[in-house]
Amino acid sequence: MRYTRIFVRSIITLMVGVTGMMTSLNALNVGGERLDTGGSLLEGTNVTYYIDPDCEYTAAIPSAIQRLMYPSKYSNKLVLTRTYSRAYSKVDFYQYSSNDLINASTVRRKLDTKGNYYSLTLASANNGTSWNYGYIDINDNYMAKYSQTKRNNVILHEILHVYGLRDLYSTNNRYSIMYGSSEYFENNREIDSFISTVLNSKYK
């Protein structure tokens, strides 16, 4: 009887372990591509964001943030509030204009022990290193011509980079918000179960 109980417990433990591993693998790999950088925004659950005075996307940015905080299907604990002081914000927005075929770019930055910010390379992010803040440079040359939906998708995509998600390029993932180009961004792209799993595992 005792051995039967031990056997049943072992089987249950094994099943829980395998399920956990599968969830973890799903979170990291979508259609054969890695979605998670492995690192995270330090103290990133409840943060402030800053919009540079020269950045005109003062409606699209809050709109994208609403979609991040309140996805239609999956919930998360993320809270972003606008601040007018750049010093302690965690997500900063800037603007430029160029025909460089880039909608927007994101850079994640890390604080060193002396209190200065130093950058975080993708290689170190992939090793699980965390960062202190990120900035997003929006290209007005393209974004100004886009629909509101497409703008929101691009901005949400970039914000998710700050939270530690990677670009996806497989055509299997073309309808994901993390797809690396905006050619399928005309329709609303939601936070899907994979992205939600990553966000919930990092920000509790």
Partner: protein, 225 residues
């Protein structure tokens, strides 16, 4: 007599060996001289002077892995086969945001497809190593937040997923676009860069076409004559 023959054989082999060595040594010098004709100035900066290394994630307007999409990505697009010369320190030109542009000399070129290109002597590509002072002037708010100190002796390195390590003196097939300033830039850097050698296809085609393999993702760009 036999001994003499053996000694003579060894001596002649030794002499031939020496002369070959001399020849290869002199060839080596020639190759070296050819290589130092062009310089990648960014590689002359020591790691200690690069105080930051920034990786950039971007959202593109087109699929960067699709050469056909790159060819149709802009109105002023051309495809050139170009030999690259000196690579200089990255700089901020009018047509760039927080990402600097690296200028590279074009030694020679021929237009393979698209609009005619006049007097192409320089190309830009995204990223590279830029002076800290220049970064601070372009992104003063972020530089202040990051606690950066202005210096002409320190540098910031930008790397994108499109970054490719171009070799000075090498020849590439490049998709290029004209900037508003009239200068030219490589379309999405490595995604718009192909090996110079044509890919020989075993399949017969009705059209005469040339194929080039991308340096980053092995995708083929097909140019129909």
């Amino acid at each position: 007599m036999k001994k003499l023959l053996i000694v003579l054989t060894f001596m002649s082999l030794f002499i031939v060996g020496c002369s070959d060595k001399k020849q290869s040594e002199s060839l080596g010098v020639e190759i070296e001289e050819e290589q130092v004709l062009y310089t990648n100035h960014q590689k002359e900066i020591s790691n200690e002077r690069v105080i930051e290394s920034l990786d950039v994630d971007s959202s593109y307007t087109v699929n960067p892995n699709d050469p056909e999409a790159l060819l149709e990505s802009s109105e002023k697009i051309s495809v050139v086969r170009a030999r690259l010369g000196d690579i200089f320190m990255a700089e901020y030109i009018n047509d760039s945001g927080s990402i600097p542009q690296t200028p590279v000399d074009v030694v020679s070129y021929e237009v393979i497809d698209g609009d005619d290109v006049q007097d192409l002597d320089k190309l830009y590509y995204n990223g590279g190593i830029v002076n800290t002072k220049d970064y601070m002037e372009r992104m003063p708010g972020d530089a202040k937040k990051a606690g950066m100190e202005s210096s002409e002796d320190t540098y910031v390195q930008f790397t994108l997923d499109s970054t490719f390590d171009y070799e000075v003196g090498s020849e590439y097939v490049l998709i290029i676009r004209q900037l508003d300033s009239g200068d030219y830039a490589i379309v999405l850097d490595g995604y718009g860069t192909f090996y110079s050698e044509e890919v020989v296809s075993k399949q017969r085609s009705n059209q005469n076409s040339r194929k080039f393999k991308n340096v980053l993702n092995d995708q083929l760009m097909i140019i129909n004559d």
